[in-house]
Symmetry: C2
Subunit: 185 residues, 2 copies
């Protein structure tokens, strides 16, 4: 499977990747083990600091790893990884090394212990900054402290989940920049 | 502009529309006036009750209308409304009747005072159920109390924002249902 050569990307502009709503793969590390989970419930919450809200169910093996390490990496997969996206959701990190099982490559991050996934075209290193909404809503607030993104292809096909086994694939990009008030861009 | 004939839709399954990450139009009503805002920062938070988290900046005219009325409608526009999506973000409800300016039709909702937008293909009537995260994160938690969706077309093109004036349009749908463990669908 193809790995992406990623470059530094400004953390304040990761909405470019997340606001369109793709499925993401969340990687974590704790006590010498790694894990990956598939996640579709997330939102951008602020540009600067760069904040993301993520729903992580307490039954997921990743829940405790992320809560205890207070870190993770949010990786954006392309359509080429759709079988892995499904498979990662079908098994548990409690008894499965998901990097090995799904032949994904763990790359060393720079600000967190959790690994980047080489086969994803963008990866955001995150620190947990607020767990106050976890008991009631399973909602973690992450700050993106370092971002990596492939320069090419510019907009690879991403995968957006509708439930019931159906994915919407991203389509073409169109600019309406000329119609925006500049302060709203 | 085309209006959609919408039918009742189960509130516990609105993830089908929101999880793929479209731009939405949020309509509100307060003291005899209505308003519409364009919103891209939202997430599904629970199936049952049907919860949605939404970022609404306090500078938006809709902020006080939604906070004070404790209601809104989240409407999903199609690609046909892309100029309205941009235009609605360019002006303020403080001095503009957006239904009139953008020639959108307000339909009476059944559980809230805020109107549905007839030209949107799905509309979710929402009650504000938690404002505790508003001061720190501008994050409202809504419960969807009634949902309406057009039966046809099944998956009209939706509009997903990347920032900088660029929209990603939704592409085709593919089913990987056969690869899912049934409890994960």
């Amino acid at each position: 499977m193809k790995s992406f050569k990623k470059r530094d990307f400004p953390v304040s502009n990761i909405r470019r990747f997340l606001e369109p709503g793709p499925i993401v793969l969340v990687s974590s590390a704790w006590k010498g083990r790694t894990n990956i989970m598939t996640m579709g419930w997330h939102m951008v919450m602020e540009f600067q600091p760069s904040l993301i809200g993520c729903y992580i169910w307490s039954n997921n093996h990743s829940f405790e790893m992320i809560r205890d390490s207070r870190e993770c990496v949010i990786n954006i997969p392309t359509q080429a990884l759709i079988r892995q996206i499904v498979g990662i959701g079908n098994c548990s990190g409690a008894d499965t090394d998901k990097f090995e099982k799904f032949r994904l490559t763990a790359e060393t991050a720079s600000r967190v212990e959790a690994p980047l996934i080489a086969q994803c075209y963008a990866s955001f290193e995150c620190k947990v900054i607020d767990v106050s909404m976890v008991p009631k809503y399973s909602l973690f607030v992450f700050e993106v402290v370092k971002a990596h993104a492939a320069a090419t292809p510019k907009n690879p096909a991403t995968v957006h989940y509708r439930g019931d086994g159906v994915f919407m694939l991203s389509g073409r990009n169109v600019s309406y920049r000329r119609y925006f008030k500049s302060e709203n861009l």
